[in-house]
Amino acid sequence: MIKMVKNLYNYRELIAALVWKNIVIRYKQSYLGILWAVLKPIMLMLIFTLVRSFVGIDTGNIPYPILTFAALLPWVFFQESASEGVNSVTSNAALIKKIYFPREVFPITAMVTKIVELAISFGILGAMMIYYKMMPTVYSLWVPIVVFYTMMVALGISFFGAAINVYYRDMSQALPVVLSLLMYGSPVMYPLSLVHQKLIVEQAAGHWSNNLYTLYTLNPLAGIIDSFQRVMLKGLAPDFEALYPGVVLTLVILPFSYVFFKRAENWFADVI
């Protein structure tokens, strides 16, 4: 892990150049340019708002559009970094076959690219907060930590997935399906408080309820999205009860995933 950080530092110029390349290429020759990046969370927000007008989801005193947009922000960042990360090695086959540098540069680059898009989404969130007359509190200082945690989760998936994808392209096919399912298992459309209400307060699943809640929060995104909404919109500290199962899982998976990637790396050039 320390080696990874060191590599990251040594190859910072390369990562910067590749990120810049990704962004330039993606939006060159397009009129709207980088604005396309934020189209996805905005569209999803509009759709969810529309759906919500039929089914009715209780969001407390926070307007639904901004609550769901604040959920979509970390979610889209996670989803895109993971799926781009998984494809990052195979889509750079030409480089892998010709030039050596530590291969973790690719998943990391994919993720850093998404940070730029995340920053733009933040601008939109800010505009919405002004519109709804919401003031950021001191708790929004938690945001960098939450984003960093999201990055670690995304990397945990990217490293493992990217290495597998070199051998079996099934990975890049399966991942979008899994991720879109995971979205419904994360508090994106609905707030976490609703799940908490059903399982912990009402004990809706009998004596399984508490275990089910832990299982639900084992999904790191549950904690991430909830924390993000709390620190940005509600002016509260993150709910550590909802966070810790996911953090533990990530701490277990990430080193394993990284070691797996480094091992597989030796054969990338031969197999890709």
């Binding site: 910067a16 150049a17 290429i25 060159k28 480089l95 010709k98 540098f101 079996y168 030796n266 050039a269």
Partner: protein, 418 residues
């Protein structure tokens, strides 16, 4: 300490497709059940290769397609990992393996310089310093802000080469890049390579099918054959050996398909052979000795006004000499049946090496081609030659003399003192 050390390097690839997940699971089951697992065939791209290279050496790597040249370079550039053995490289490596690997078509030339610089590990500061030099070398000043996708392929390679050679590394690994661009640019690349080799004293590994280039640039050549080192040593000797090998391969091909000749069906070439100065048949000729070349033909239809011609060429088809019978032999009417034509060669001027014969016959007033073939016969020239005329194909009959005037005398004295 050698700058590059390769110890018992072996690289195996598995032939065929990657086995599917299903097969993997099935194999795991078989292993658990103690049955034999289905394995794919292994292919040894490199087989126990060992050598070391000292700082400042310029090493050429030659061999047929599939001999393992590129695989070897990939290991030196740390792109592939050995199956067995190890590779130790003490210094930074600039891999010019297919230059322009990192060139992105969407970006402009200038943007690509920065991007490729970063990919090759050149710090941004250095790139900024060298930007003008790189652009000037690539000869693309006018197009540098145009996306590379609108470049011609030659322009792309020029750009790639310019970036790659601006990298200041201890070891240069070059894979077939000098065959790029137009002649003038090739010349420029070659000069830059020579400059890096001769003046900057860099260690260079060069892979090429252009054996002459290798001979010219390298001071050591490694011949690979089927993943093994076949020969390692002085360029001339190794290249000659390689020519012989190639010849054998070419000959085997010719014998099997017979495509080396064009003939109109009026004549049949039976045999070409040499005789030496004593008149004996010979496979090997000697430099500066007289010899003869004989052509045995079978004329199937009567031919008018026949001219014979033959020439020598190298095995890579560089034409060295020709001679035809037009002025010496006037054959107005060549009857059907077997004939033998003999041409006497005085003091064969070819330097030792492997050469090949081409032979042609024309007939009629318009001198239409009746028969023409190249690489019809390979032969070897041997002989001891003084060191003064070792390089090249021909001996030059020359004489050196010191004109005795004061100026040169002074020069000689000062040279002796130095």
């Amino acid at each position: 300490m050698p700058i590059i050390e390769v110890n018992h390097l072996t690289k195996e690839y598995q032939l065929g497709h990657i086995i599917s997940l299903k097969e993997n699971v099935a194999n795991a089951y078989r292993r658990m059940a103690g049955k034999a697992i289905h394995k794919r065939e292994d292919f040894k791209a490199l087989d126990d290769v060992s050598f070391s290279i000292e700082q400042g050496e310029v090493v050429g790597i030659i061999g047929h397609n599939g001999a393992g040249k590129s695989t070897l370079l990939k290991h030196l550039a740390n792109i592939s990992k050995p199956t067995k053995g190890n590779v130790i490289v003490r210094g930074s490596v600039a891999p010019l393996i297919e230059v322009g690997a990192g060139v992105n078509p969407e970006l402009t030339g200038r943007e690509n310089i920065y991007l490729n610089g970063a990919i090759l590990g050149i710090p941004k500061k250095i790139i900024q310093q060298k930007l003008d030099e790189i652009i000037a070398f690539s000869e693309l000043e006018q197009f540098i802000d145009t996306p590379v996708k609108r470049y011609s392929s030659g322009m792309t390679v020029k750009l790639g080469f310019s970036i790659a050679t601006s990298l200041d590394a201890d070891i240069l690994i070059v894979d077939e890049v000098l065959a790029v661009g137009d002649l003038a640019f090739q010349r420029k690349c070659f000069d830059r390579m020579e400059d890096m080799i001769k003046r900057q004293g860099k260690t260079v590994l060069l892979v090429s099918h252009n054996i002459r280039q290798i001979q010219r640039l390298c001071n050591r050549v490694v011949l690979l054959d089927h993943g093994r080192i076949n020969m390692d040593g002085e360029p001339q000797a190794v290249c000659d050996n390689f020519y012989e090998q190639s010849d054998r391969k070419i000959k085997a091909n010719i014998n099997s398909v017979q495509t080396g000749t064009e003939d109109s069906g009026e004549i049949e070439l039976i045999e070409i052979y040499f005789s030496d100065h004593t008149g004996q048949r010979a496979e090997k000729l000697f430099y500066n000795h007289n010899c003869s070349i004989h052509f045995k033909i079978n004329v199937l239809q009567v031919l008018e006004e026949v001219t014979f011609g033959f020439g020598f060429h190298t095995t890579d088809f560089l034409y060295l000499t020709t001679h035809n019978s037009e002025e010496q032999l006037c054959i107005n009417h060549l009857t059907e049946g077997y004939h033998e034509i003999k041409c006497k060669i005085f003091q064969l001027p070819l330097l030792p090496g492997i050469y090949s014969v081409r032979f042609g016959i024309t007939a009629g007033k318009a001198a239409r081609d009746v028969f023409y073939g190249e690489s019809l016969k390979h032969f070897m020239v041997a002989g001891d030659i003084p060191i003064t005329k070792r390089d090249g194909f021909f001996a030059l009959d020359a004489h050196w003399k010191l004109e005795n005037n004061k100026a040169t005398e002074l020069q000689i004295i000062s040279m002796a003192e130095a």
